[in-house]
């Protein structure tokens, strides 16, 4: 198991270096936006991971409810923690780009609002986990909430999209005029790959951390029992 984490970490590192090369050397500087457009690669990759994670959380939660195996709960919780970090990165990098390009930090556009709501759902999920004492109950309740969160993320997106949108149209498979310079597309794909690998590496580390925490706890309980017997 140690080997998997090392390999994932190494792959993520290599991909990240390749992504940085592709972003800053290979991809051309955007004509109207200039250098600030380079945020786009990290911004989109972080959003992709944030949205991927909520569906992984939902998937692990469904597995938990079916199998009643604590491991699936640990996987769900850890995916939510890491996903929330990536979504925060996305929400922070967005305004840094938006200020010079749109002239404002934030706008209540469909995609921004959806991301913000998803972030709030993550926070609710993580807060719920902290506020339920029994581990078994915590696993069940948070699993149910994550299913609602995942379904709702889709509906929020559609509802907002019908309402208003200002965010740049999807550049890939967006509309007729959309499209990326081939080198920019390559840089984006490499960055997305790097972020995904990094996510899986961090996810694995989070699960291991939770498991060690549990075994330390049970060791401590055993030690206390032995101590009492000795006395």
């Amino acid at each position: 198991m140690e080997g998997l984490q090392k390999r994932l970490g190494l792959l993520a590192l290599l991909a990240m270096v390749a992504a940085l090369y592709a972003i800053f050397v290979l991809a051309p500087v955007e004509l109207t936006m200039g250098v600030v457009q380079k945020i786009f690669y990290f911004h989109v990759a972080a959003a992709w991971v944030g949205f991927l994670a909520i569906y992984l959380v939902c998937f692990c939660s469904l597995r938990f409810l079916r199998k009643r195996d604590r491991q699936w709960d640990i996987r769900a919780a850890s995916a939510a923690e890491v996903g929330a970090v990536f979504l925060t990165l996305n929400l922070v990098s967005g305004p840094i780009w938006a200020k010079p390009v749109w002239g404002i930090w934030w706008t209540w556009d469909a995609r921004l609002t959806t991301t913000f709501v998803l972030w709030l759902i993550y926070m609710g999920y993580l807060m719920l986990r902290r506020l339920v004492d029994s581990p078994e109950q915590r696993a069940r309740l948070s699993a149910v909430v994550s299913i609602f969160g995942a379904v709702n993320a889709l509906i929020v997106y559609m509802a907002n999209r019908w309402w208003r949108t200002q965010h740049p149209q999807p550049v890939i498979a967006g509309g007729e005029d959309s499209g990326l310079h081939p080198d920019m597309l390559l840089a984006l794909l490499v960055t997305v790959l790097a972020f995904t690998l990094l996510f899986f590496c961090l996810w694995k580390m989070g699960c291991d951390l939770e498991r060690s925490r549990e075994s330390v706890e049970s060791l401590r309980r055993t030690a206390q029992r032995h101590l009492r017997e000795v006395r």
Binding site: G124, V132, L141, V144, F148, G149, V151, W162
Partner: protein
């Protein structure tokens, strides 16, 4: 048939407790009045501003009053372990959910009707010509809100700070309802009424209701089990 008579029994029980104490309804109404009062002093709105902000304000009042009321529906059952009793009684657990959800729905609709009348009276807001459509919109919006809210009230009753946990979980999840219901209400009360817009958002509400009435019924057993 048995399922529905069990549901009806739970519904009657909840409504009867509420009828005898009137705690929830009274607190929701007072809270609604307080929001209206604050709105008046915060904005001193003229009739044009009322037309513009009225729908949003009404629904914010409904949502916050509803959060207040729904929090009670499972926290109250925790006292004297009444929920354990319900779970041990020979009823399908889905009917516990459905009965409580319908009780919440009826209470919310009653409170909303009274708040709406008071709002119209105090701000000279013309609701009567289009009250039928307003009733339909309110029903669709409240149904989605109450169905998700009842399930999450059951979830948050198990946490250490249920009165904080419920809004934190519920508001992001009912955001599509808030958006659609406010837009539908605004379209309904616009001069002249924008019916196509109103129908569109009512359809969105209906779709949300179908999904979020089914989903709690499928997951409620997991929330209760011990």
């Amino acid at each position: 048939m048995k399922f529905w008579s069990q549901t009806a029994a739970i519904l009657t029980k909840d409504l009867l407790t509420e009828y005898r104490t009137k705690d929830v309804l009274a607190s929701m109404l007072l809270f609604g009045l307080l929001v209206i009062l604050m709105f008046h002093f915060a904005f001193e709105p003229d009739s044009e501003e009322i037309r513009k902000f009225g729908p949003g304000l009404l629904w914010m009042t409904f949502i916050f009053a509803g959060l207040l009321g729904m929090n009670r529906s499972f926290v109250g059952e925790k006292e004297n372990d009444a929920l354990e009793g319900l779970m041990l009684s020979p009823v399908n657990w889905s009917s516990i959910y459905l009965g409580k959800m319908l009780a919440n729905l009826l209470l919310l609709l009653l409170a909303e009707a009274i708040i709406l009348c008071l709002f119209s009276l105090l701000f000279n807001y013309a609701i009567w010509p289009r009250i039928g459509w307003m009733a339909a919109i309110t029903f669709l919006g409240t149904l989605g809100f109450a169905s998700v809210g009842t399930l999450l009230a059951a979830v948050s009753a198990n946490t250490r700070m249920s009165e904080v946990m419920l809004p934190v979980l519920l508001v992001p999840l009912v955001l599509p309802v808030i958006l659609s219901v406010v837009l539908a209400t605004a379209a309904n009360f616009a001069q002249p009424a924008e019916e196509p817009v109103m129908f569109f958002w009512m359809q969105v509400l209906a779709a949300y209701d179908i999904i979020f009435v089914t989903l709690p019924l499928m997951t409620f057993d997991y929330v209760l089990e011990k």
